[in-house]
């Protein structure tokens, strides 16, 4: 999102209530239609959805998976991406030209490659286990997928860091220099603390984008909510369940991502630089 754009008008509670009511009405109509088609011999659509909800949310018993895995992967990928992105972003504003150029190249490469291609890259070209000094460290699929998702996040966080550092007036650097701060001290004690506020809204925006990219890991064979939804559909073999099951999955993501988006817009307004 660009800093100058005006946030969308807030959805009123009444609007949300209407939407919820419409959803319920659609579900009830679908239920009635399905019962009519099957002659009421099979369990209802709602009952079936309810039966699969724990699986889609938390994965099979005694295993970690489902929507909870999507969230866990998003947290971990964001943490890795943010740490690496901070380093890369500082490289982008380095005084040493080779470091700056290399950081620029890395940033452009990971920003402009499709997420899915990067994901395949990491999944297929890293080993399934590491042998360090005789100790075998397994690298499970979900961990590799997390690293794969954190690469584009790293590049975009680096851009956020560079943008924030560049938005601090030059006068701050000059006054710090006249007070005999070293470059590192100026960055760490004067510039970066002011950057944090400006970086939070775009950073949250990228978190939401990352969360919505996590179903991609189902393509490379991780037991996430998408995989389990398809498994559940395969087990049921009922075509009238297709729409409700996919809608349920969309609904889970919406419930998680929508508040983040609203909160981001709120913070963007609060932290907006006033002219």
């Amino acid at each position: 999102m660009t800093a100058g754009s005006v946030p969308a008008p807030l959805l009123t509670p009444r609007w949300l209530a209407t939407a919820a009511l419409l959803c319920c009405a659609a579900l009830a109509a679908g239920e009635a239609w399905a019962q009519l088609q099957t002659g009421g011999t099979r369990p209802g659509v709602l009952a079936t959805l309810w039966k699969w909800t724990p699986l889609v949310l938390f994965g099979p018993p005694r295993e970690f998976g489902g929507f909870a895995l999507n969230i866990a992967v998003s947290f971990l990928a964001m943490a890795i991406g943010t740490l690496a992105g901070l380093v890369l972003g500082l490289g982008l504003v380095s005084n040493f030209a080779p470091v700056r150029r290399l950081s620029w190249l890395v940033t452009q490469f990971f920003r402009n490659s499709p997420w899915l291609v990067l994901l395949f890259f990491v999944m297929l070209l890293t080993p399934f286990q590491l042998r360090v000094a005789g100790i075998v460290i397994p690298l499970p699929g979900w961990l590799k997928a997390t690293v794969g998702l954190s690469l584009p996040i790293m590049a975009n966080v680096a851009e956020i860091v560079r943008g924030a550092i560049n938005s601090i007036p030059t006068g701050q650097w000059e006054s710090a220099e006249s007070l005999a701060f070293s470059r590192l001290q100026t960055l760490w004690r004067i510039i970066l603390p002011q950057c944090v506020k400006r970086m939070i809204p775009p950073w949250m925006n990228w978190y939401a984008i990352l969360t919505m990219a996590t179903p991609l890991i189902s393509i490379v064979g991780v037991n996430d909510a998408m995989t389990l939804t398809q498994d559940a559909l395969a087990a049921e073999q009922r075509s009238e369940l297709l729409m409700p099951m996919y809608t349920l999955l969309l609904f889970f993501f919406f419930v998680y991502c929508y508040p983040i988006a609203r909160w981001t817009i709120h913070l963007e307004r609060r932290y907006a630089v006033r002219n």
Binding site: S5, V6, P114, L116, V117, M226, F253, Y258
Partner: protein
């Protein structure tokens, strides 16, 4: 050309760098077809998503509240759900509900194939962002300009078509570029519903010929080139359309 293919074949035999997708005519053919599919998919989706953006932004200036609420609902739904799940929803859930048509062999087949569904779902996904982008452009157009057009007797659609939109497009072009680049990259998702685009074909080749690394490098180079050419073209367009008297 043949000399180059022979050289690459020699490189494979002598150094083990397997560039079979270049020197083998069959593999080269399907890779090129895959790349063409990606370019076609991206171009069609870009056109449709811009159309959705323009119409959506116009509907948002409407005085009907239900219309505005519907557009807002569409935007929030598509912006806050994963594009991959949207694509599955379109292909697997909506697909079977569509009427069937009789094809040339007299056999009933679904109305839309996977390519058409990819176009639909990606266009709606990117379109939701485009509506917001165009709206921010429309809002940035000065009120006096709109009032001037109004006093000259332009209708509401005429004002939008001839006065507001040309200015708004120029204002929001950078943001639009960003989103369209993102859309071009998201076309890789069509892999999931077996559209024979570049990633899909590449994965077939690396499974058949066991040259994952070489194929991956080719794949990344292709996407970086495609995005690079697109960004270059859009930057030129931006310069061409620049309104004199604004910015530096």
């Amino acid at each position: 050309m043949d000399a180059l293919w022979d050289l690459l074949r020699h490189v494979h035999d002598a150094y083990g760098v397997n560039l079979v997708h270049f020197y083998d005519g069959f593999e080269r053919g399907r890779l090129l077809r895959g790349m063409w599919t990606t370019v076609k998919l991206a171009a069609i989706c870009i056109a449709f998503s811009i159309l959705i953006g323009i119409v959506g932004a116009w509907l948002q200036t409407s005085r009907l509240r239900i219309l505005k609420a519907a557009v807002q609902g569409y935007i929030q739904f598509f912006r806050n759900t994963p594009p991959l799940v949207q694509m599955y929803f379109f292909y697997f859930a909506l697909g079977p509900q569509m009427p069937r048509v009789i094809n040339d062999f007299g056999v009933p087949q679904p109305m839309f194939g996977s390519f058409e569904w990819a176009v639909l779902s990606l266009s709606f996904f990117a379109g939701a962002f485009n509506v917001e982008i165009f709206r921010s452009g429309v809002e940035a157009v000065q009120k006096a300009t709109v009032e001037a057009a109004d006093s000259l007797g332009f209708s509401r659609w005429q004002i939008y078509r001839y006065v507001v939109l040309p200015l708004a497009v120029r204002i929001c072009l950078p943001a639009l570029n960003n989103n369209l680049v993102n859309l071009a990259k998201t076309t890789t998702q069509a892999y999931a519903i077996a559209v024979p685009e570049t990633l899909f074909v590449a994965s077939q080749i690396w499974s058949d010929r066991i040259n994952v690394l070489e194929m991956m490098v080719t794949l990344l180079t292709f996407y970086l080139l495609m995005v690079g050419v697109f960004v270059w073209a859009m930057t030129r367009l931006e310069r061409r359309l620049r309104v004199p008297g604004f910015g530096q």
